[in-house]
Point group: C2
Chain length 373, copies 2
Amino acid sequence: MEELHLGLEGIYFNESKICLVDGVQGKLYYRGYSIEDLAEKSNFEEVCYLLLYGSLPRREELERFKEKMRKRRGLNEKTVELIFEGAGKEHAMSTLRTAFSSISAYENYDDDYERSISIISKISTIVAAIGRAMKKKEYVEPSSELDHAENFLYMLNGTYNKESAKVLDKMMILHAEHSSNASTFASLVSTSTLSDIYSSIVSAISTLKGPLHGGADEAALRMIYEIKSPENAEKYVEEALKDKKKIMGFGHRVYKTYDPRAKVIKSTLLGLLNSGDEEVKNLAAIALEVEKIMVNKLGKSHGIWPNVDFFSGPVYRSMDIPPELFTPIFAMSRSPGWCAHIIEYSANNKLIRPLEKYTGEIGLEYKSIDERG
Amino acid sequence: MEELHLGLEGIYFNESKICLVDGVQGKLYYRGYSIEDLAEKSNFEEVCYLLLYGSLPRREELERFKEKMRKRRGLNEKTVELIFEGAGKEHAMSTLRTAFSSISAYENYDDDYERSISIISKISTIVAAIGRAMKKKEYVEPSSELDHAENFLYMLNGTYNKESAKVLDKMMILHAEHSSNASTFASLVSTSTLSDIYSSIVSAISTLKGPLHGGADEAALRMIYEIKSPENAEKYVEEALKDKKKIMGFGHRVYKTYDPRAKVIKSTLLGLLNSGDEEVKNLAAIALEVEKIMVNKLGKSHGIWPNVDFFSGPVYRSMDIPPELFTPIFAMSRSPGWCAHIIEYSANNKLIRPLEKYTGEIGLEYKSIDERG
């Protein structure tokens, strides 16, 4: 009667037309388009449009959308102050949570589509500013001309190159949406009380922060650093498995086969084997070696395959992005997915309020503090 | 196979020993103690201890706990600045969300019990400061001597009386916990990724903001104001029902009988009929008249009974608390329940990640923007 669904595993809470994760076939579709096609042929702004509005834009629609994004990048000076106040004192995701929360005081848009464009634009400005503050460098105002990924690298590093921007753009597409993952689901719980979209995104950021969700790529990279060289990989994996230690970046609640996003990133990683940066080259080689070992040992036999988080770290390192910024970058990449879900859920809202099975006591007698002693 | 559980209604996602809501009998227990006993005989600090640690404190345990609460009330000046920057520009709950989020940069406790004491203490200081900022008055530093409810009224109004503090204390007990309501559930979704307790409380605040959850008492009071006098109540209710308008403060996802908390507040409201303040007296009279009519019309026949939100407004008004502050006060009252749940869930964590049923298209062909026209 009171069947328990721990973690709500296998429970369907809603219908959605945004994203299909086919965990058995290892396929991922945004609004019906395969992730491979989008990663290869589309760009982040177009994918944002697709997720929000449900179809690919015509040229003039895309141009208008990109112009709105460029115009909404700027932050209020109070938000910038908050970032430089918080960064370094705590986890970058906590700084992002507070700084993002602060923007709603200065926003004044008519509907959630317009708010979404502002949110997606501003969150990347906040993340870049956190990166600047962490490096003890001054804030770089957003460009009003560059594309989204270019502008992010420009705000973060004060400079950018087209090649890195293209890789980042692809990474952002791969992370833009993933159905009802924990952060998206948290945003919908907030939405379901008829709260506002800024609050719902704050819930998503608060949830993404956890190492079981957004923190996995940072943890995977730290493991790759720990392994030190491709030659150490086999010994490291064997010992970890013997000690029942979790190998970060492998296994997924939904995918029971190779994560299609990991496949796309793997092709980028193969390119890094030719990098002029020895550290990046070595990280890529270790990652590819661990992948080979793990797929042999645990892939087909146990259904534990590489997920999107495993290969991301070396790719971000190749763009001079520090590990502390990986999860904030995940947040800015996922923001269109969050917004699309919030808009969809609002159109057919129902309060999300599951039950707990009570296993405690009942009818205890209240004794006064004198009687308790 | 893919059975849909909209809003997760009737789905058990966890076991818990914190709170039993018996919606059929109309009973509510915190850690086994009835809400009637706690409201009459206990006090807010003791209830916080009970919720967090699972049993009532002995005298010296309570004294130590209260001392910690008193010592942790103060805010960093940056948080105070944020409050005075945000208040008035947007909903008080948005200001609370940002200001509360900012405190984690200055916190340094060893475990979630100690953090919880700090959170419960500081959130009331933030709410009072928001009230001051809304009234364009200066910040009042917390007292290091007063009890929690007294101190809140003192920080809000610059003065307090024992009688009002006693009523507020009782209101806070009634709102301290309510099993897996939407805000508590949102905090657990965040917790389940191994995020931190501050982030999880931010998710709870973001979720409580919505009018279907925390905003209901404010909406109920606005309705009572709209009715203007007890004589108008019958006509108002009849017209609202004819137009299928929701009567705020009635009906509940879990209670299918009289909400036991509403019963306790009703007894306070009866006292307000003798208030020297004509406005408060009138609000109480209207509320009691609407209740009588609704119970006759919809109570037994439709299972729609008064809930905790219906009677709260006139009671808060009697303490000079503005309606915009009702939901923030709900947040500060519920904070021990949130913290207790976060601690309990963390001890036996499982990622919360339900599924969506995909109803969109699949395998669409990506056309280049030139082909799209």
